[in-house]
C-alpha cells in the first residue's frame, strides 16, 4: 500500500469538489473492495475521501411511486427494507445472495456498482492484464477462465462484472444519479452505466472522473413475479458463475410482459430487450423460453474453461421461469 492523505468532508458538494481538485483521489465508502486493491497496489490513490459522513443513506419514495436509494445505503439495509422486499424482491434477493453478512453490512450501493472484476489475473500484479495496465495483454484469454465472460467480451479483456445487485438493477431499469465537482447533476440509465471492454477494458463505467454517485432511482414497481437465481460453486460467499434475474407478468398461459437479465456472463449485466418482446403476449413454455435464451446468447463465445456457462445459462433461465410460474397465484 502506498501512503495517501485522508479527508472527511462534511457535505456532498465538498466531497465532489475534492475529487475534482485532487488528481489521484478516490472515494472510500465501505472499503470492502478498495482496501483489498490498495493493499495489493492495484489501486494506489494518493488521496482518500471518506464519504461515510455525508448522509446519502436514506431510501425514499419518489413522486412516480418508485424509490430513491442513497449511495451510502448499506447492502444489508437495502435488502431488508420493506419497500424493497415487497416491490423489488429481485433486488433484495440479489443482494442477499452476495458476499457475506459482514461484507454486506459494510458494502454500499454506490461501491457495489463500482466494484471491480474478480479476474484472478487482475488481482495479481505480476501478470499481464489490460485492465490493470493498458496494453500489457490479457492473461485470461489463454489462461484459466472458468469465471470469465461468454458475451460482449473482446480479445483485450474477457472479465465479468461481479455484482449481483447490478443485475437486479438492470432488470428494473434503475437510474444512477451523480453530481460533479461543479455541482452539476446527471442521471445515467443503468443500461449505459457499465461498459463493454472493447479496446479500453480499464474503463468500466461511463461515470466521469470528477463525478460522484449520489443515489440510484428505481422506477415504479413492475407487475408480475420476480426472482433471482444465482448459480455458484459453493452455497454461500462465492461470486456467481452465472445468475438470472427475471420478472414475468403472466395471466393464464400468456405473459403480459417479461424481462430477463444475466449476471456473470459479461463485463456488465446482460439484458436483451428485443428478445423479451418475443415473450410478451406469448405462451410461456419451453419453446418460447428457449427462443429468448437463444437471443440472449446470440454471439456468445466460450473459452477453454467456461463453455459450461452456455448450457448453464439455458438451464438456469429455464429454472428461474419455472420457479416464477410455479409460484404464480393462478397456478396454485
Amino acid at each position: 500500500m502506498k501512503s495517501f492523505s485522508f479527508e472527511q468532508p462534511a457535505t456532498v458538494q465538498a466531497a465532489a469538489a475534492s475529487l475534482a481538485t485532487h488528481a489521484d483521489a478516490k472515494f472510500i465508502a465501505g472499503g470492502t473492495n478498495l482496501l483489498d486493491l490498495m493493499k495489493l497496489e492495484i489501486e494506489a490513490p494518493t488521496h482518500l475521501i471518506d464519504i461515510n459522513r455525508l448522509g446519502l443513506d436514506q431510501i425514499e419514495t419518489t413522486d412516480d411511486g418508485g424509490v430513491r436509494i442513497g449511495a451510502m445505503v448499506r447492502n444489508s439495509d437495502l435488502a431488508a427494507h420493506s419497500r424493497i422486499r415487497i416491490d423489488y424482491a429481485v433486488l433484495s434477493r440479489a443482494l442477499l445472495s452476495g458476499a457475506s453478512g459482514q461484507l454486506r453490512n459494510k458494502a454500499t450501493t454506490g461501491g457495489n456498482l463500482l466494484q471491480r472484476t474478480r479476474c484472478y489475473y487482475f488481482y495479481d500484479t505480476a501478470r499481464p492484464c489490460n485492465k490493470r495496465v493498458a496494453g500489457s495483454g490479457c492473461s485470461a484469454v489463454a489462461g484459466f477462465n472458468r469465471m470469465h465472460a461468454i458475451l460482449g467480451a473482446s480479445d483485450q479483456c474477457i472479465a465479468v462484472h461481479p455484482s449481483d445487485m447490478a443485475v437486479a438493477m438492470r432488470l428494473l431499469d434503475a437510474e444512477v444519479e451523480t453530481i460533479n465537482g461543479s455541482g452539476v447533476r446527471r442521471v445515467i440509465p443503468i443500461a449505459e452505466f457499465h461498459r463493454l471492454p472493447a479496446t479500453t477494458p480499464h474503463l468500466e463505467t461511463n461515470l466521469r472522473r470528477d463525478e460522484m454517485i449520489t443515489g440510484v432511482k428505481l422506477p415504479a414497481p413492475l407487475p408480475g413475479r420476480q426472482t433471482y437465481r444465482k448459480v455458484r460453486d459453493r452455497a454461500s460467499y462465492a461470486f456467481a458463475l452465472i445468475s438470472v434475474a427475471a420478472v414475468i407478468d403472466a395471466s393464464g398461459e400468456r405473459a403480459q410482459s417479461a424481462r430477463i437479465a444475466l449476471g456473470g456472463v459479461a463485463h456488465k449485466p446482460w439484458r436483451v430487450e428485443s428478445a423479451e418482446l418475443g415473450l410478451s403476449g406469448a405462451t410461456i413454455n419451453v419453446k418460447s423460453i428457449d427462443a429468448v435464451t437463444d437471443q440472449l446468447l446470440a454471439g456468445a463465445r466460450a473459452y477453454s474453461d467456461n463453455d459450461f456457462k452456455l448450457a448453464l445459462v439455458r438451464r438456469t433461465v429455464h429454472a428461474a421461469v419455472a420457479e416464477i410460474l410455479k409460484n404464480s397465484p393462478q397456478w396454485k
Partner: protein, 755 residues
Amino acid sequence: MNDAAPHDALDDNRQGLIGTPVDRVDGRLKVMGQATYAHEVQEGGPTAYGFIVEATIAKGTVSQIDVTDAERCEGVYLVMTHHNAPKQAPWGPLLAKDRFARSAPQLANNRVDHYGQAVAFVVAGSFEQARSAARLIKIRYAESAGRFELAPNLDRAVIPAGRPGREADSRVGNFEPAFASSTLQIDARFTTPVQMHAQMEPHATLAYWKDGQVIVHCSSQLLMSAKNAVANTLRIAPERVRVVSRFIGGGFGGKLPIYGDVILSAMAARILKCPVKTALTRQQMFHFTTHRSDTIQRVRLGANADGRLNAIAHETWSHSASFDNFYESAGMQTRTLYAAAHRLTTHRSVSLDLPVSDSTRAPGEAVGMLALEQAMDELAEQVGIDPIELRVRNEPLQDPERNIPFSSRQLIACMQDGATRFGWSRRNAKHSAVKEGNLWVGMGMAAATRGNLLQPSKCAVQFDDQGVLTVRMAMTDIGTGSYTIFTQVAAEMMGVPMAQVRMEMGDTDFPPTPGSGGSFGAASAGSGLFDACTQLRTKFARKFGVNAKDVTFAGGRISGAGRSETLASLAGSRGLDAVGEIKPGAMVKKFSQQSYGAHFAEVTVDGDTGEIRLRRMIGVFAAGRILNLKTATSQAVGAMIWGVGAALHEHAVIDPRYGYFVNHDLAEYHVPTHADIPAIEAYFLPEFDDKTNPLKIKGVGELGICGAGAAIANAVYNACGVRTRDFPLTLDKVIAGLKLQNTLSTAGVPPHFKS
C-alpha cells in the same frame, strides 16, 4: 512398546476424567484473545517488521535486482537479497532421518526453483513500511522453461525411496492374470487436485538473539525439528536455538517444515540486533508454504460374481518439488483394507517445478480413499449388492500383505452402527430414483481408515508442596486440544483435580517430543507423560512406604495400608519429580495398526444447475480409547468437513504458463462455508487397543477426512447417476453428464410449460 499394555490407572478412571467431554483448558484464553500466537508475542525489545518479496517466475535466475529505491524509503532498516544474505548451509540433505530438520536456506543464491520463493526481504519500522518498500524493488529474471503438470510428465516418474515397511511398491500373488480372469472388473482412473492447508493462522515469526542464542517464536507443529532445522541452516549448535510455539492456529501438516519467515527473521535479527517479526500474507501462503500434491490414481478391482475380491491394484502418481523427494502415499491403505489373494500397489513421483508438496492432513489416505472407495461403490453396483455387504464379504482376517494380526479392527462394526444411525436402509440402490422438486437426492457411504503411529517422546513432571503438578514437554497444541487431553491424563494419573495441573508446552527448553503430526501426537507425547506419571507414582509410593501396586491416588491424596496422606505434604518443599519416556518397539511389527470408520452422506443435486449440496453426514469411528469425547468429536467433524471440501470445492489451479496457482486467495480457493455444512455428526465406538501404546489410544486427528469425500461422490452418483472421477465434483462436470430434457425442473409447473 514391546508388549501389550497392562491394566492401569486410566482403566480404573477413578476420577472419571478419561473420556469425558471436558471443555478445553485453553478455551477461555482463546475466546478472550489472551492466547498469544507467534505474531502477537512482544519480547526482546523494540521490534522491526519483515516483508518477504516472492519470485514471480517459477524457474530461472535473478539476473538483476535493484534495491536502491526500497532502501531509501522511510523506516527501512535492511533490504536483504542473495547479494548480502549471510552464508547458510546448503539445502538438505535430500535423504534425512528427519525431513523437517533439514537445512532450509533463504536467499542463498540467485536461483529460482519455484514460484513464490523468497528473492528479497525488507525489514522496516512497521509492516506497512516494509511492504510498500518491497514493491519498489526492481527485479529482472532470466526465465527458463519449467514443468508444472503431472499428467504430461508421467513418463518422467521415478520410484521414490520408501521406508522399511513402507516401500514404494508392494506385490502379493500375481495381480495381472488374476485380474484378467476375474468375472467382474473395475478399472478406473481418478484425479485429485492440489490442495492447500489454508490454516486460520498464517505462518509468522518473532526472532531475536540473546547471549548468543536465537529465540524463535513461530507457528510450528514440530518444535524439535524446527530447532534443528534452524541450527542446521544457520550452522550453529542446536543449544543456541530455542523455538517457542505456545498456541497454533491450525497445522494440518503445513507447519511441519519451517519456512523463510523463520530463517529470514533470525538472520535479520542478528544483523540488526533487534527482534524481527515476519508474517506471511494469505496470498503468500499459497506458494511459500507446502501443499498437498495432485494425484493420478488407477484402481483395478477383480472380483467373482458374488463380489469377493480376487485381485486388487492401486497405482498412484504425485509430484515433488524439483529439489525434493516427496510422494503422496495414496496407495498405502489399499495394502490393508480389503482381502484379495492377488495384490499390487505402486507409488510414483514426478519431479515438477512447482512449489513444495508435502504432508497434508492424512497424507496418502485422504486422497487414496477418494479413489479406492469410489471403485468399491462401482463394484457393489456391478455385483448388485449393498456397498456395506460388499465390504463384509471382503473383510480380511489379518493384514492381507504383512500376514500379521490387526491390533484391533472394527471397520464393519462402524459401518453397521453408522447404517442404523443414518437410516441407510432407506437408500434406493438404483441411482436417479429419488427426486424432490427439481432436486435429485442420493445417499452414499465409504470406509475410513488411517495408519496408526507411535514416536519416541519424553516428558518431565514435578509435584510441589502446594499440590500442583507441573508437566513440561516440547509438545504443541495445534488447535486439536492437546493441552486439554494431557491435563486430563496427568490429573487422572495423579489423582488430582485438573485445575491443579499446570501444563507447560510449546518450548524446546522442555523435554523433546515428536510434536503434532500424522495423528501421532496424543499417543506419543501422551505415553511419555503416562510414563512420567507412573514413575512419579512409584516415587510417591516409596516415600509413603507402601508398595506402588497397593496404593491409590485420589483427591490429591495417596492411600494404602489403611493410611492416607496428601501428595503436597509428601512432596515437601523440595517437591518430587520424574522424567518419563516412550519408545516404539516390537508391537508395530507384531500388529497391523490402523484406526477405522465409516462415512454416510446424503446430498442433493440440482437437476437444473447441477449444484451439489450436502444435506447431512454421519461418521462412525473406532480409534482406540477416546480421551476426550468433545475434542475427539471436533477433530472428526473438522476432518469430515475437509472431506466435503475435497469432494466439492478445493482446487488450487495450476497455470502451466507461469507455474503457479492462479486462485491464490480464499475468495477463489474455495473451502466449505457454514452454508455448505449442515448437520454433520461423528460418533466413536468403544475400543481399547492395548497393542498401540500405553494409553491404548489411536490417532484421531486425520481419520475423519479419510473416505469422507468418497461417501459424497458415491451419494452424488446415487442421486443423479453421474460418476465423476476427477475431483472436485463441480457443477460443470455434473451437467455434462445430465441429459437436458429429462432433468430440467418440471415439478409443479403448469402443464402448458412443457409443451
